[in-house]
Amino acid sequence: MTAKTTASGAAYDVQGDRADTERRDAAMQAFVRDFARTAAIHMESCLRCGMCANACHFYVTTGDPKYTPINKLRPFEQAYHRHIGPFAPIYRLFGLKSNVSIEMLQEWESLIYDGCTLCGRCTLACPMGIDISELIKEARHGMYKAGLVPDRLELMDRTAKAWGSPASPSEDFADIIRDAGEEHGVPMNIDLPKADYVVTVAPAELTEHTKALSDVAKILNKIGASWTYSTEGFEASNIGYINGDLPLQEKMTRKIIDNAIRIGAHTLILPECGHAYGAARWEAARWYGKKLPLRIIHMTEFLAELVTSGRIKLKKMGETTCFHDPCQLVRRGGVTEAPRAVLKGLGLDLTEFEDHGELAWCCGGGGGVVSNVRADPLRFKAFSIKRKQVEDAKTQHFVTACGQCRITLTLGAKHDKWDQKVESLLELVADHLED
């Protein structure tokens, strides 16, 4: 692993010691691998109108045109036209589209990993409806295979492979759960052989947000549910999904789903994590080739169900709040009303940002950007949008429903020396349970 810079000064990391052409070919093949109809249609459709630029927090806060979302796909567009598109044989025959060079891939590494949070705001701006964020995810498959991934993300990848989680070894999981239970005085269920609900966690909850672990337990105990945490399948954040490491994505997915099926759970509860929702709710079934025999539900959806059905009663807070919509949950997940219903149940008066719901601005840390230290300066710039929104809202609380967003926003505030607390919807609910 070595950190390098391209001729233009863009930083890139390289893993492994393969020859450049081998890397390039691996990237192209992996990129080509999953090319299905929808992605091909989208690769064909760009009009070069530039509307996506103004949707991107990185372009807006840097003014650098290289962050125009469609530009981040450039090498992969070239590869698509050369290998997959309807005119690919012609392009190859007449040499109209040259093979992507390794230099180009190196140059683009920072655009694909540092300069994109997979937030998908550009998809909403595109007049052709091109799902650019999904295409960036496809591009990451190629970059991962080429061994051109930011070292920090690759480190998490290797850790997840070795430990079953990028945050903590599986062997430590039960202890962390028990410690959290003891610390907050909540009875925990761990590794029960049978349960209706199996609860999964995100890396942040194993390190910084451990209260979340006991908060879920508190709520599930309150409704008298049959539930458990499982050492065999606890990690819902899917670093393979983020990095473009497909085999790892499959492995991480199978682990939690197979475990939940074995336990006989009817519902798998995902933690307050955006990409976990994207990977499990929408992509898990892909590895099974059929409908899964259980329900996969995000914490926020679960809370909203409990609150609106009256299964839990909450103390009314009677205060004001603003809400950060996590991209993967809201824009790309369709869970827009659920967090608002929970806020209402908490008696919080919600002041919406000017751009909220599906149009919300990203926290700037999604898609692995928050874990990729190399991208810190860029991320702090993007944070300025969120800061202004929160300041304009002038509310007592600032709530979100994604642990990674929460960390990103907290780090952003800290960097700005701005005293702003970012709260978790789950924690607020757990703290305001009516006895």
């Binding site: 093949q29 080509v32 691998r33 598109g85 309807p86 690919a88 044989p89």
Partner: protein, 359 residues
């Protein structure tokens, strides 16, 4: 015939006044859009001119051009012009026939060597040695070459002579060609039309007689005075075109109200002639005024423009088979491209599986 006499003297003897002479001059001048100062010059030129020897050759033609010229509704004027010239040879109009006629041609050529004008109607067959039209055992081509050799100028009258016309229409069985392709180095005018407007023929001849040179010509060697504007640009139905009011059929309300005939195939927009201004039969009417679209008869290849009733903005020829074939070929190529991409993917998936086994 006294070729030495001036035209003025001849006219005077026939009782044509100078006033009538000037009137004719101004008529020709206005037809040809000459400046007023030219009226006098034209009349004076005509008066001083000697009778011009004209040899009229008829090749692959229908005699319509001659009919047009002679059955004109302004006989006085056409008589006048025929009095200005000495029509020394014209198969249809001359009394003699056979060898005597050919002899007349040769005599006129000899007597007016380098000064006579050759008027040609009809195209010349070139295929198979030109055997498709012969006179007195000589092919049209031979007669033309022979006659033009000592001529002062050549006037191709009618679209057959000017551009090949009907004989040259697809599939052109006789290998017909336009006169201009066979006449090199001689001053040459095309008076196209099927038939040409009589005034265009007489006007051009009068101009040559008066000024001793050819009038201003367009890129197809037609006098700009008669072929400078399109029928469409001078058509009295033009306002209907601009307003978007069209006849969709020859018997619909639009046709009865005299709307534009573009949709029923009028070729006026691309046809250069003075039908819309000079009109026919002494200014009585012209085809569009009679309710039929312009055929484009004064333009090259007018017979092969896909049909007289096919609107100008539609494609020539049948599209169906070409487009159906293209669609099939496109589908085949598309499927082929997708299959190649799929096999590429499969190949890669197989290599992935192998990789997994290794792990």
């Amino acid at each position: 015939m006294k070729p030495d006499d001036t035209l003025a003297g001849e006219m005077q003897r026939r009782g044509v006044s100078r006033r009538a002479f000037l009137k004719y001059g101004s008529y020709i001048a206005s037809l040809m859009a000459l400046p007023p100062s030219a009226v006098e010059a034209l009349a004076e030129g005509l008066a001083a001119a000697r009778r011009q020897s004209v040899i009229w050759l008829s090749f692959q033609e229908c005699t319509g051009c001659t009919e047009s010229l002679t059955r004109s509704y302004s006989p006085t004027l056409e008589n006048l012009i025929f009095d200005f010239i000495s029509l020394d040879y014209h198969e249809t109009l001359m009394a003699v026939s056979g060898e005597a006629a050919e002899e007349a041609r040769r005599a006129a050529m000899a007597a007016n060597k380098g000064k006579y004008i050759v008027v040609v109607d009809g195209s010349v067959p070139m295929k198979d040695g030109g055997v498709y039209a012969t006179i007195g055992g000589k092919t049209n081509h031979q007669i033309l070459e022979d006659t033009v050799k000592d001529a002062f100028a050549v006037v191709a009258v009618g679209t057959c002579a000017a551009f090949g016309g009907l004989p040259k229409a697809n599939p052109n069985p006789t290998g017909a060609v336009a006169i201009s392709t066979l006449v090199a180095g001689k001053p040459m005018i095309n008076i196209s039309g099927c038939p040409p407007i009589p005034e265009a023929m007489t006007g051009a001849l009068a101009y040559i007689l008066s000024f001793g040179k050819l009038p201003e010509l367009d890129h197809l060697s037609r006098p700009k005075a008669f072929f400078g504007e399109t029928i469409h640009d001078r058509c009295y139905r033009r306002p209907y075109y601009e307003r978007g009011e069209f006849a969709n059929a020859f018997d619909d309300a639009g046709a009865r109200q005299g709307h534009c005939l573009f949709k029923v195939g009028c070729k006026g927009p691309v046809t250069y002639n003075s039908c819309a201004t000079t009109k026919w039969n002494g200014g009585v009417s012209f085809p569009i005024q009679s309710g039929h679209g312009c055929l484009g008869c004064s333009e090259p290849e007018f017979w092969d423009q896909g049909g007289f009733y096919r609107p100008l903005s539609t494609p020539l020829g049948a599209m169906g088979p070409a487009l159906a074939g293209a669609a099939l070929a496109g589908a085949a190529l598309g499927v082929g491209a997708a299959l190649s991409a799929r096999s590429h993917q499969k190949h890669y998936l197989a290599s992935l599986d192998k990789e997994k086994e290794k792990e």
